[in-house]
Symmetry: C2
């Protein structure tokens, strides 16, 4: 056992004494024969290494009720609703990420090989960041959207690399922009053998965790220059309210046919009919986009927050 493993062992013991035994850091220090700040560091290490699993074993009724309503109305396999965070976009993504990590964790813990696909987005990334490490080299992870921005840099919200690092599986990335410059460029990309091979892996995946994009000036598609200002206006003019994997949707959840749609390089949404397609998205501002995705019937699972869930539920026809 090397030094780091000894450290982890001691951190586990300190964590056990603190969280289970209810001892103070001073008490633990006395028993382990280290200083009080040393115990503090051991506990911090235990938290950082993801050893401490906290589960709140009591449903929050309002979140549960919202989730049940959305499951029933849209025929979802599940809908997890986390408490709303009112402190900024990062912490909202973190809450969603923790809940999503629990779902992803349950899928990847099995031994039979699994092919899992990921979209992009801040919440999808947060989910992978919140996921604990494990060793399942038999699994495969594949990107559903291109991981290259228009300037050639990697997509900042792509998480397949990190997921494969954590779980040890094979990784399949799309070296392409989500929206091509032209129809010719898109066709050239789709014709590439690498592209077709990755598309086949994606089609074979059992589950997909994806974000939901909004269509406004803060949309990633616009901010990362995949579409121009005039194209944004075109989408808004066609009443686009959101996007899934780059495909723009109107409020009924229909993919809008326009010049942008023809240049999207992602696998068409129709291919995901048999997948467990799970969206990870929340926030008041995202509610219209999430609602559209639900109405379009593209989703089998949803991980959202209270703010978005409430806003969607408020707009459902009453029965």
């Amino acid at each position: 056992m090397d030094k780091f493993e000894l450290k982890l062992d001691q951190a586990a013991r300190a964590a056990w004494m603190s969280y289970v035994g209810g001892l103070t850091q001073d008490e633990i220090a006395a028993q382990l024969g280290v200083s009080r700040p040393g115990v503090q560091r051991l506990l911090a290490l235990a938290r950082q290494e993801g050893m401490i699993k906290v589960h709140i074993d009591h449903p929050i009724s309002t979140c549960m009720a919202l989730g049940r309503t959305l499951e029933e109305h849209f025929g979802l396999a599940f809908c997890d609703v986390v408490p709303a965070a009112s402190q900024g976009v990062e912490s909202a993504a973190y809450y969603l990420g923790v809940a999503a990590a629990e779902r992803i964790g349950r899928l990847v813990e099995r031994n039979a090989p699994l092919t899992l696909s990921l979209g992009s987005g801040r919440s999808v990334r947060a989910a992978v960041e919140a996921l604990d490490r494990t060793e399942r080299p038999q699994h495969r992870f594949v990107s559903l959207v291109g991981n290259v921005a228009r300037d050639g840099s990697a997509n900042r919200y792509d998480a397949v690399m990190l997921l494969a690092d954590k779980i040890g599986g094979q990784r399949f990335l799309l070296p392409a922009p989500v929206v091509a410059e032209s129809l010719a460029e898109k066709n050239a990309l789709l014709d590439q053998r690498l592209f077709r091979a990755i598309a086949e892996v994606a089609k074979a995946s059992e589950a997909a965790f994806i974000g939901v994009g909004r269509i406004d000036r803060r949309a990633t598609l616009f901010q990362d220059h995949f579409i121009s200002e005039s194209e944004l206006e075109e989408l808004l003019g066609l009443e686009a309210v959101g996007e899934l994997l780059g495909w723009p949707l109107n409020s009924r959840g229909e993919v809008i046919d326009c010049s942008i749609t023809r240049r999207v390089t992602s696998l068409p949404l129709e291919h995901f009919g048999k997948h467990l397609t799970v969206a990870i998205a929340g926030g008041n501002d995202k509610a219209p986009a999430i609602h559209a995705a639900l109405r379009g019937g593209w989703l089998k699972g949803l991980i959202t927050d209270e703010a978005a869930a409430r806003r969607i539920v408020d707009q459902l026809p009453t029965t």
Copy 2:
């Protein structure tokens, strides 16, 4: 939803924000619109109601190694070793109780009807106290030792009542002292229809969680006046080192035949051959008694602490 349920809901939300979201109590107070001490009270309520489940997802190597050694040497289905507590008997029982509650919880969570039997003892009681509530009215819980002390009061360490309250199952208590005043009294008790009915339920149980008693002046049998001082000396003279369900054992784990043994009203240990019989006991002083029970082959599972485990392992023949 009544006021207490609203309170529990709010406590769950505060707990989620604190333990999962990592927010401070001031931050939670701002979001929930209550005072900071109010949040502190909500978190205290959440802890008191057992909503917060903490699991340390990393083994402590020394505990694990001791457990594996004892499993292999004595052919146990499992051996859980918790870190030693050095702060007094109550906290040692608490550590053992938490680990045992996890095992009991896994058994009772199933839906198929289960019959579970319990011995008595401080650690058995601590296990039931640490167990979370659930609703399984189809289960049955039965006492393995009489729940009546010599003066007619209820056994202070009997936990079947509490267990049945928490899980909602049927309860079968033995209205008898663990050691009768005389052989005639014992025979009269065993002849009672109620007694025989409860004994049949106990025989039908799949698992039994029992304590291990010591034989010295601090033994419960002596302190609660089931045996006299001269009888204690008799047991010590016969080299009794421990007891299971009132049955005294020598260091080889054999039940000692003597005047006390003939008056014990519990089900004889031979009846438990096919049960998952799990002892919950720890502490340096209990090590000889636990070791005797192991050598006698009476146990299929053990939940102990590091101090006891190390002392037993140190006495095993080396190979």
